[in-house]
Symmetry: C2
Subunit: 262 residues, 2 copies
């Protein structure tokens, strides 16, 4: 039996410790190919590179595993992996991460980790974005391992039943403190921005984005609730952004056009 | 009565002809403030700038209209507009575009134009992304004008009834050939990538992203159908990416965790 082909990527860059965990776990389950950014790409969202060429370089970072670093965004990495590196071979699973820092709630929009996974789902590939709620470079990924292993195994064995992308966030806890996994919805939270204002060495003003994450969604079925209560959150997510509930309410707008010649 | 405050942005950059159309129309309806990228930002998706400072410069481009160019992405522009330029004043409407090129279907993910509008919707601001199905710099925006005017007026007067972001795409047709507006869902289409491979002057290989847009969604309720049949497409869109239909099917995964101690 041929082993399933697993594509591994991330947004923290190919040398970030988090991706190594995914490579090691994936290697026990299938043939692994890594295509990841050659530099940190946090906050790149679903950006793609269209005005510049991309560079792709084979690297020997993970023993026995084919790995490539790419100059582009996380989404670029998935595109170039599928079409250049893997020449349209069938990919059984794409895993992205483990991100250093949570990507729960609205962060799915800003996250390169999740956008890479979403790009794979657009390409009809099962995909999972993993994030640990710890921003530090030397975050302890050991408690994540059995859970990541379990979720990846499930994804390889089971159909996702409609959802093709899982947004998995893991709380910063010891292994025996993690209470389990919860299937959640995305919390309706957001960032309240703040800009640090300063002046550069030549006296010109600059603004540096920072902010505070605000969750006013008190539902107990959200990813934020799960994380704050000791659970791993799993949100099945999708790339159809249509707000179906609003279609009917807007019919008045479409009728306007029939009423009068413009 | 105070005039409604309208924020105008885009992703083609502040000097692109498409934004001028929005500024002119918005100026007839309210107080207009423009904050737009100082360079083209197509394909930036929901990227934000976290590792570099942003620059913000007042410019005199639109007669009688306050305008700022920003060094960041379209999403950065909305964030800095709200919190630095407008100091959290109430924004009645954010309009983004008119993009030179369509942003129907899956392009909502890649588009800086739509991501800027979506960022405004995350901030609880009504917002509309406008795109014309014509990539050329000297695209003729005249046929768009009465429709854009109509849709913006509607947005200012009516609640969106649940949806806060409209993705509006306009076909490349003469004014009298446009048949009207249709409220649609996002077509389930995607790009099939192709990479142009070459070598740079020093002999190093590069890969340049290009692709073909493939629509295998034959529904007549999609944005692509509307555009191809002479209609303006309006897709109410949202930033909750939860795939609610898949939550139940994944319960087996969450049960796994209770069954055995990891």
């Amino acid at each position: 039996m041929t082993k399933p082909l697993i594509l591994v990527t991330n947004d923290d860059g190919i040398v970030a410790p988090g991706i190594r965990v995914l490579v090691e776990i994936a290697s026990e389950m299938g043939e692994v190919v890594v295509v990841a950014p050659d530099s940190p790409q946090s906050g790149q969202g679903h950006a793609i590179t269209i005005h510049d060429p991309l560079r792709l370089k084979k690297v020997n970072i993970f023993p026995g595993v084919e790995a490539w670093e790419c100059s582009g965004t996380p989404v670029d990495c998935v595109k170039i992996a599928k079409h250049v590196v893997l020449k349209d071979r069938q990919i059984a699973l794409c895993v992205s991460g483990i991100n250093h820092g949570t990507n729960a709630s609205i962060n799915i929009l800003y996250s390169g980790t999740l956008s890479a996974a979403m790009e794979a789902s657009v390409e009809n590939i099962k995909s999972i974005g993993f994030s640990l709620d710890d921003f530090s470079f030397d975050a302890d990924f050991k408690p994540c391992r059995p859970w990541v292993q379990r979720i990846m195994q499930y994804a390889l064995e089971q159909p996702f039943e409609g959802g093709k992308l899982l947004n998995v966030n893991i709380p910063k806890l010891q292994a025996d403190q993690i209470l389990g996994m919860r299937i959640c919805r995305q919390a309706d939270a957001r960032w309240v921005e703040n800009f640090i204002e300063g002046h550069d060495p030549s006296g010109q003003p600059y603004y540096w984005l920072t902010g505070e994450f605000i969750n006013e969604d008190h539902g107990e079925d959200t990813d934020i609730w799960a994380l704050r209560n000791g659970y791993i959150s799993i949100v099945p997510s999708m790339h159809d952004l249509t707000d179906y509930k609003s279609i009917r309410g807007l019919k008045g707008l479409s009728l306007l056009s029939a009423e009068q010649h413009l």
